[in-house]
């Protein structure tokens, strides 16, 4: 690569880097896994050691069964939340980005400003609850879904807009000459071309929304529709003496992002560094 085509592989530096990475980044995850495999007594020592006996199945069953299968319900809730919000986000953000990128009017400046504000301004919590309550959406899943959509729009619009800029306008013109209206142009011609950026948006937003703790905490409180992050947080107080179960819980919640990471590493990287080069 550029910076270093001058130098060969440096073995000493490499070994130091790998050892450091093991201590700093791998050990915490190994600690999670090992503790999740231990018996209660052994886990309570908080040692970084190999389990004398593997209690994986038992711990797994205990965590899943805790509080009437709360974890299962939480996973279902989180899945509904993630899938619904991401689906809505993709369509709405792509529509905005499409018109925003293609057509310059007196609205363009205002909308760009709104997009940036959405990235920067911290949401006002209690007034949002007040609005949700007026709409009858407080403490409901649809309410939380719309919240995630509202807060995620800016980021998605930016990603889509940057990508749509690379789609040639000639395609639009050809479709228009063929008699396509705006809806057909967008859904039949443009949207299929956005495949790669859609995957990026879906993956990045899924991980973000799945990991979201603050919005469910404020807008969807209560055990009934707890999401996985809330469940984990609530478990942490009741499991203060059962570290094996706490870490099994952490382990289970880490698996979905891990799967995303294994399959979509490149897409995630593309999405998260989108703004870096342009600034």
């Amino acid at each position: 690569m550029t910076a270093s085509s001058l130098s060969r592989k440096r073995p000493l530096l490499s070994i130091v880097a790998i050892l450091l990475s093991l201590v700093v980044f791998v050990v915490p995850f190994a600690f999670i896994v090992l503790t999740a495999l231990k018996s209660r007594q052994e886990a309570s020592l908080l040692d970084f050691s190999w389990p004398t006996q593997f209690h994986f199945v038992q711990n797994f069953i205990d965590v899943v069964q805790a509080r009437d299968y709360m974890l299962i319900i939480a996973f279902i809730n989180s899945t509904i939340l993630t899938v619904a919000s991401v689906a809505i986000l993709v369509v709405l953000a792509a529509m905005v980005a499409f018109v925003l990128q293609r057509r310059r009017t007196r609205w363009t400046g205002l909308i760009n400003f709104m997009v940036l504000s959405g990235l920067i301004i911290p949401p006002a919590v209690v007034p949002t609850i007040w609005v949700l309550q007026k709409l009858g959406l407080f403490r409901t899943m649809p309410g939380l879904i719309l919240i995630e959509v509202a807060f995620g729009l800016s980021f998605c619009v930016l990603l889509f807009r940057a990508f749509i800029a690379t789609v040639p306008r000639e395609l639009d013109e050809a479709a228009i000459i063929d008699g396509a209206g705006p809806l057909r142009l967008f859904f039949r011609v443009i949207l299929p071309l956005l495949r790669s950026v859609i995957i990026t948006v879906v993956v990045v937003q899924s991980v973000t929304i799945f990991n979201d703790f603050v919005n469910p905490l404020y807008f969807l409180p209560g055990d009934q529709n707890a999401t996985v992050q809330l469940t984990l947080y609530n478990f942490s107080s009741s499991y203060s003496t059962q570290y094996n179960l706490l870490f099994m819980d952490i382990l289970l919640i880490t698996i979905p992002p891990l799967i995303m990471f294994l399959f979509f590493n490149k897409r995630i990287v593309a999405g998260m560094t989108a703004g870096a080069v342009k600034g």
Binding site: T2, A3, S4, S5, L6, S7, S14, A17, I18, S21, F25, V27, F29, F31, L46, D47, V96, F98, V99, R103, G118, I120, I121, P122, P123, A124, V125, P127, T128, W130, V131, L132, Q133, L146, I147, L153, D172, G179, G181, P182, L183, R184, N211, F213, V214, L217, L232, Y233, S236, I250, I253, P257, M260, V269, M272, T273, A276, V277, K278, G279
Partner: protein
């Protein structure tokens, strides 16, 4: 193709039926009403709360009614030492995290774009914590940082160092949480820097080699100035994240011990839980003002110093 055109005509008439004609003349293929669905969600759930927060912060507010009380909430906020210190902690936390993310992220990115072994592994392992649940990371590190039994202090004891009570000592709690934040977030900074460094044209390095530049000179005169857009992105992103950060602090210390690691976002939550909605919203407005006062001028300043590659 005949069927195709009928479908198209149908689609077009449908398109005509919805949406008001802008200007009345020739219809644009990029209609404004495409903004509408997103705009409604955004306006109702983001803009309205943001705008009304200014009014509600001036009221004594229960969930049923609000009573205008002027600036009393702000007076309360700034008279209560625990709340004012939250403001200060927010700034400290944001500065520590974004400063360290810039320095470590740049260092790691230079390392991970150089020719070293296991580069793919190293990149993955540095980045993965970004994707892990903040609550999970917080709970894990709370246990690793336990003063007596925690792995970190036990390891330090093996080296003959007496580790502090990271999260239980008032003078360390905030910094400890900030360090965990850096652990979790540095991978994103590294990625952004890698993207920036990779986009630097190779000719610069070739010219430098012809001139016999050292590795340090390469870094000083090529990487550092030309990766500046990446630096701006990292600073802005981590400041925005740091100023409003809540979940990691809440998972690790709940603002304690005492109020020594309370930030504005945790103050907002505590006041909300206590039922002081007006005061909570005043905290929100203060956070809003703090963020805009720092981010908008900074981003304008940074953008004005933009370089061309």
């Amino acid at each position: 193709m005949a069927t195709d055109t009928t479908v198209q005509r149908a689609a077009r008439t449908r398109g005509d039926a919805s949406g008001p004609a802008p200007g009345g003349r020739k219809r644009s293929p990029y209609p404004h009403w495409f903004y509408l669905p997103a705009a409604i969600v955004y306006a109702v759930l983001f803009l309205v709360p943001t705008v009304t927060s200014f009014y509600f912060s001036l009221t004594r507010w229960s969930i049923f009614d609000s009573q205008f009380i002027g600036f009393d909430n702000y007076v309360t906020f700034f008279q209560e030492p625990a709340l004012v210190s939250g403001l200060w902690h927010t700034v400290v936390y944001a500065v520590i995290t974004s400063g360290l993310k810039v320095v470590l992220g740049l260092g790691l990115a230079v390392l991970l774009t150089s020719q070293i072994m296991a580069r793919g592994y190293l990149r993955s392992v540095v980045f993965f914590p970004v994707l892990v649940s903040t609550i999970g990371v917080g709970l894990t590190f709370t246990i690793l940082l336990d003063p007596e039994e925690g792995l970190i202090n036990e390891s330090l004891a093996l080296l003959g160092i007496q580790g502090p009570g990271w999260l239980t000592d008032p003078s360390y709690a905030l910094v400890s949480v900030a360090l965990v934040d850096v652990w979790k977030g540095v991978g994103l900074a590294t990625l952004i820097y890698i993207a920036g460094i990779v986009s630097i044209p190779g000719e610069y390095f070739e010219a430098a080699r012809v001139d016999g530049a050292s590795a340090w000179q390469n870094f000083r005169s090529i990487v550092l100035p030309l990766a500046r857009p990446a630096t701006f992105t990292v600073i802005l992103l981590s400041l925005i994240g740091g100023l409003r950060s809540f979940d990691l602090i809440w998972a690790m210390t709940r603002g304690g011990p005492g109020f020594t690691s309370d930030v504005i976002a945790s103050v907002i939550y505590k006041q909300y839980q206590a039922g002081f909605y007006g005061l909570s919203t005043a905290g929100n407005v203060i956070l809003f003002l703090l963020v805009t006062a720092i981010i908008f001028p900074l981003s304008r300043y940074l953008n004005s110093k933009e370089v061309d590659l």
